[in-house]
Amino acid sequence: MAAVVRLADVEVGTELPVQSSTVTRADLVRYAGASGDFNVIHWNERVATEVGLPGVIAHGMLTAGLAARAVTAWAGDPGALVEYSVRFSRPVVVPDDALGAEVVVAGRVAALLDDDRVRVDLTVTSGGEKVLSLARAVVQL
């Protein structure tokens, strides 16, 4: 297993390609089935608003999965992502329409670590607001 990006090609400040994804209600249903997370706040507007949410929200791990995809696509091998951590700071509200919500992932190499590893810090937003904080990936190059 080997990343396509080589250590010699990166330095602190190297930016990952920005990734933009659309999340619709259909995507939430698909992720619920794939992950086994059937929490009703991810598909039922009535329940979501009853518990004080603005509406149906995306699974935090769907957003985190999209953000990880930006890292693995850059690294060239998903096996190179050895550590990944996120804090869910704000829900991604997914409207009941064909457009859905947009999730934008930007990332930059924040530190060079021992053993040919680098830390990538991610900025993940929806509608201009940060939805993940302290989103960090350690990539083995």
Binding site: R30, G33, A34, A73, G79, F88, L134
Partner: protein, 148 residues
């Protein structure tokens, strides 16, 4: 109600074996909109140095979500599940999860904290093969928002 700090370190019996299938990995990758062939094509996965198709880095949530329920079901863990939100999540991969893996999940309580009236419970789930090879460690921090 505040969580008892004495819960930290409590561990639970290992889960039944979960056999990782190629189709489940492909389904999960599709749900993330990820077209990477190493999630679907054994030939592409082998060309990348893996014995079989590997799973996306966040696939471990499929196992850890189920394995973590044993903590929420513990009568000593007085957390109001109806008020719970997912606060933080971490994965440490010893190697990628791959098709054919027969994994056992072991849950334990890593931390408890109460800030203002919010209870925070961090559950760790260790994934290993049934032969004992460590594969992945996950930590999930749940927040139970304090009631009025």
């Amino acid at each position: 109600m505040a969580l008892d700090a004495g819960l930290v370190g409590r561990s639970y019996p290992p889960s039944a074996v979960y056999e990782v299938g190629r189709e489940k990995i492909a389904e999960f990758a599709t749900a993330l909109g990820d077209p990477d062939p190493v999630y679907r094509d054994p030939v592409a996965a082998r060309a990348a140095g893996h014995p079989d198709v590997i799973a996306p880095p966040t696939f471990a949530i499929v196992l850890s979500l189920g394995a973590g329920e044993v903590v929420l079901d513990d009568p000593d863990v007085s957390i109001d599940y109806s008020r719970v939100v997912h606060g933080e999540q971490k994965f440490v991969h010893h190697r990628p999860i791959r098709a054919g893996d027969r994994l056992v999940a072991t849950a334990s309580i890593e931390a408890v904290r109460t800030v203002a009236s919010n209870d925070m419970l961090t559950t760790r789930v260790d994934l290993a093969t049934e032969d004992g090879e460590p594969v992945c460690r996950t930590s999930a921090m749940l927040v139970a928002r304090g009631g009025a």
